[in-house]
Subunit: 306 residues, 2 copies
């Protein structure tokens, strides 16, 4: 693999893949993979979260950590406009973790799953053998298509599409990253009401994740600075726009639809999180920021896990 | 939860479960869970393996670690007599892990998967932020039923059944735990040729795993010491029988069938790994060892992950 970072690694893995399309319609590089098996079709996502990287177990508490781990996977199900069904959860426990904390963790997992009728059906519990080993949690979640709506991939954005987000962006680290409600219901409503061309959840920052949709779709985009919705936490910081563009773990939906479909969606009062058009898909191949009359090409920075 | 250890934790989790049987025919506590979803039926297993616990990355090398992680999950598919279809793999990388080792890991994952046409379809790569974080790999595998053979659970053992194993037991730590070939083909052949009442793979030692089948089925068992097949590695140790009864990670099949079906299976030359009857299911509720004319009740010890 050439170059740096997570996306290069992901594309190297995707290039190696020998998955046949009739068996695996969606493979490496989207929010979930799709598999035709067992007489039907299922989607699957797996996510590993580490103490000291994705959360601080000592300050967050085991219940919130269990909630966050499940919620992050539920957000992947939302990213494809699919309905979560069940999850298996594996954990590595530090020595002396104890029963009470394990029960708290379980309570958080179940609290998140119960919001969307997503059932814990199995798992694996293992333990480090010395004091140096740290807590790890891995959630794998299965989802299914809703009615006749196909899973929404990242690769369908078209020039002229409205770029939209749910909710508000930035400053998640102040607390939202532990307490967010995944946009499962919103995603299904949006996909029912409109022909969604591309969608994902915002986990590594708006600019970086939008660049992923653009790369998968072979397009570019303009973000309109004045339109980017910011959380209260982002507004309280030194540079609210910077926070809204680049902070990780918003867990909002980022999607593109035609201008007409955007008008339809804007009129849907039932979508609780609210939808904002933040920009436009272009043929530039770049991510640009429009601020008043100025337009600049943005660096595609943002959270990189590697 | 009362008492100690992994099995107590697993049963506490199973008691908490609210999985409805029509949606989830097999839940927490078997080798895989079964889910009816997406218009079909799939089985799922997840396993987390830790550097310094399940392998030593420095001495085994990343390729063998990737192989072992996949092979352990393939063995779970075998344990239910199901056919593996695909896997998602998540890893936590220590700082400075590097591209070369990641490619070796990938090669080992693919080598194991290719044996049984099990495709890597996605994953998650994350990294520790400091030098103290250690390598973790989590494999989640999906499998499907073969022809009309239902997945074989642990709970169907009947008094009078022959207790059988494939291959040889003990001493896996000498090398087999990194190189074993999961008994996927054997499991399918056995389930086609006989009415298998209960099955699992031997991961925590014959006695402990047989006690799990007995607990799930509400029965007991006698192991006949003279009949237990031992690996060369076990025979080289101080106490070969002890190794064959209690060592972990044999990754052989342990199953029960009627006496008549055992005779049928014993005649099947095509089952490569070979099948040995090692004992008998009883109504005692205990695991006993018959050695010549002596019979003793065994301690259910063996590898405990907690």
């Amino acid at each position: 693999m050439s170059g740096q970072g997570e996306d290069k690694v992901t594309s190297w893995f995707a290039q190696q893949s020998r998955a046949r399309e009739e068996r695996f319609p969606i493979g490496i590089g989207d929010d979930m993979a799709q598999v035709n098996m067992g007489g039907g079709s299922v989607l699957v996502t797996t996510d590993m979260l580490l103490d000291g990287v994705h959360f601080d177990l000592a300050s967050a508490g085991a219940e919130q950590v269990g909630y966050k781990a499940m919620a992050a996977s539920l957000s992947d199900c939302a990213a494809m406009a699919t309905r979560p069904v069940c999850a298996v959860v594996a954990v590595a426990l530090p020595t002396g973790f104890g029963e009470d904390k394990l029960k708290e963790l379980h309570a958080g997992i179940v609290r998140a799953g119960d919001m969307f009728d997503c059932t814990l059906i199995g798992g694996d519990i293992t333990a480090w053998r010395d004091n140096a080993g740290r807590f790890v949690i891995n959630v794998t979640m299965l989802s299914e298509c809703v009615d006749c709506v196909e899973p929404v991939k990242r690769s369908g954005a078209k020039v002229g599409d409205a770029v939209c987000v749910t909710g508000e962006l930035g400053g998640s680290i102040a607390g939202k990253h532990l307490t967010f409600v995944p946009r499962v219901e919103e995603a299904i409503e949006i996909a029912r009401a409109a022909d969604v061309h591309a969608m994902m959840d915002v986990t590594d920052g708006l600019v970086k994740d939008l660049s992923r949709i653009c790369a998968a779709s072979g397009v570019g985009a303009i973000i309109e600075a004045e339109r980017v919705p910011m959380t209260h936490a982002a507004k309280e910081g030194n540079d609210p726009l910077e926070a809204a563009l680049y902070d990780g773990e918003d867990f909002e939906l980022l999607f593109t639809v035609s201008a007409e479909d955007y008008e339809t969606l804007a009129g849907e009062q039932s979508i609780k999180a609210g939808i904002t058009r933040v920009g436009l898909i272009t043929d530039s191949g770049r991510i640009e920021l429009q601020r008043g009359r100025d337009r600049e090409v943005l660096d595609v920075k943002g959270y990189d896990h590697l």
